[in-house]
Amino acid sequence: MKDRGIWRVIVIALFLTFMIVPFLATVLFSISVRWDRTIFPEGLTLEWWDKVTSRSAFETTLTNSFIVSFATMFALAILVTPTAYWAHVRVPRGKPFIEFLTIIPFGIPGVVLALALIRFYSTVPLPLINTPNILVAACMVIALPFMYRPVANALDAIDVHVLTEAAQSLGAGLWQTMIRVIVPNIMPGIVSGCLLVFSTVFAEFTLANLLVGTRFKTFPIYLVEFTRFDGRQASALAVISFVIAWLTSLLIIGIAGRGARPAESLGAR
């Protein structure tokens, strides 16, 4: 039983290499003068970072991505939290329907969702098609499970009925109960839901590209444009995306622990 551990070390080392090398290589590439002829970079420079971040499109696209991410996050938090609470205390029989609607997004590829929304909303006289509004609505659909799961889990973990009755026997109305009593108690669930939504939407390329395209350029669209045009500047943008995605995920793990993420989570592919 002595050398039983060796296979484990090899397996874990290989896995770590596969997961970390692409990231490290991109970082190094973004600060290399040239790294396409030799095994080691030909000198280091911050020129590409300087160039790419000084463009006005850099700021615009970054801002646009933040706008869409935050709008989606807030809209989902406001839609999902009261619904989950209400279903929990008053309409438990409504839960299967809610869960059905939160599973559907897993089965719809981004391109199909975009197509379906364009098909229907181009026939409806609402200010949706070709605007950031439709992008936010589409992002809400794909991020719905990420908001609902953590909030529902948080509700399951506390005694909602006792808290509600206690608050109401002390004279609190419905909204007061929810905002002053329930929300503080499920805050970790709401926050990790928000962060999951943020990281999913921030990296979303498919929906942004097909629904609004160049009319409202987001950061991933900017990055894809650069991969065709200047690899070294693109690498700086890729590093920024990596860092934002990883930081948000680490925050989620820090706040809610593992398991906040729905196991079947499918992100921005």
Partner: protein, 288 residues
């Protein structure tokens, strides 16, 4: 209780459903109706119910796109299941708590990662002038131009594994933790070799989770678009790439054709996700 009281309570319960209306309206407006619109227009031509659109969708180009998408999804799902389970087994059996937590966290962080930055990272290491390509060249292995290209289905297979592996690891860890040490000891005491234990005891118990994982990974790859688009552009013929091209009107505008393709891919995805849900229920029952 009086009859009036019962009725009042019933109508109150019905009123309570109204509280869920905003959520249901959102789901109906942005999930149900758009998808039904697609379904209808894929089946209707000038007001007549027909399968003609689907027949038209079965051109060699689109058949090939389905073949490519299915092959890519099956290959990355299979590799993801096999290697993900091996890595997950290494993680759950290690005694070092820090290693266990750190690698699980890494899987958690990376499984949510894909799309353009991922594709670009793989160009940096495995592109025609990538660092791994150059290193392999110095030891006499020439990937380009014939052995391997990152801008191809082979390349996509490698890149997709970057999010498939961690997803499988996260999915299978709970089932691996459910394997009791006593089962292994009992099998060994009864004279089974470790190999026999795995084949006759552990794998049958794990089967529903492994199959469920395969289906979910398959769906994950089948619906992916951003990574493929960044890495290969229109060069690789995948279902999602074809649908996106039809949406953008790059190819001649043919709405009904895009709808038919979309419905076919929706069918594949629904089968996978429904299968996963069903197996998930079974796996949980087994664990109890």
């Amino acid at each position: 209780m009086t009859k009036v009281g019962v009725n009042a309570r019933k109508s109150k319960a019905r009123l309570a459903w109204l509280g869920l209306m905003p959520f249901f309206l959102f789901g109906i407006a942005f999930e149900i109706i758009p998808v039904l619109t697609l379904a209808r227009s894929s089946l209707m031509d000038k007001g007549v119910l027909t399968l003609a659109q689907f027949e038209r969708a079965l051109t060699p180009l689109f058949i090939e796109s389905f073949r490519n998408s299915i092959q890519l999804s099956a290959a990355t799902a299979l590799l993801g299941v096999v290697f993900g389970t091996i890595v997950a087994h290494a993680i759950v059996t290690t005694r070092n708590q820090f290693v266990r937590d750190a690698i699980t966290a890494l899987a958690d962080v990376t499984t949510n990662f894909g799309g353009a930055p991922l594709a670009f990272a793989f160009i940096v290491i495995l592109g025609s002038t990538g660092v791994v390509t150059l290193i392999l060249q110095t030891i006499g292995i020439n990937l380009y131009p014939t052995t391997f290209r990152i801008y191809s289905i082979q390349g996509l297979t490698v890149a997709y594994l970057y999010f498939q592996l961690p997803l499988m690891i996260l999915l299978v860890i709970p089932s691996l933790l459910g394997l009791r040490r006593e089962w292994r000891e009992a099998a060994i005491n009864l004279g089974a070799s470790p190999m026999q234990y795995w084949l006759r005891v552990a794998l049958p118990i794990l089967a529903p989770s492994l199959l469920g994982g395969f289906l979910l990974l398959f769906a994950n790859a089948f619906g992916a678009y951003a990574t493929a688009w960044t890495l290969t552009g229109p060069d690789v013929n995948l279902v999602t790439v074809q649908i996106a091209a039809l949406v953008r009107g790059e190819v001649q505008l043919d709405p009904a054709l895009a709808d038919a393709l979309a419905m076919l891919s929706l069918g594949v995805m629904t089968l996978c996700v429904a299968g996963y849900q069903w197996l998930g229920g079974r796996a949980h029952k087994g664990a109890r």
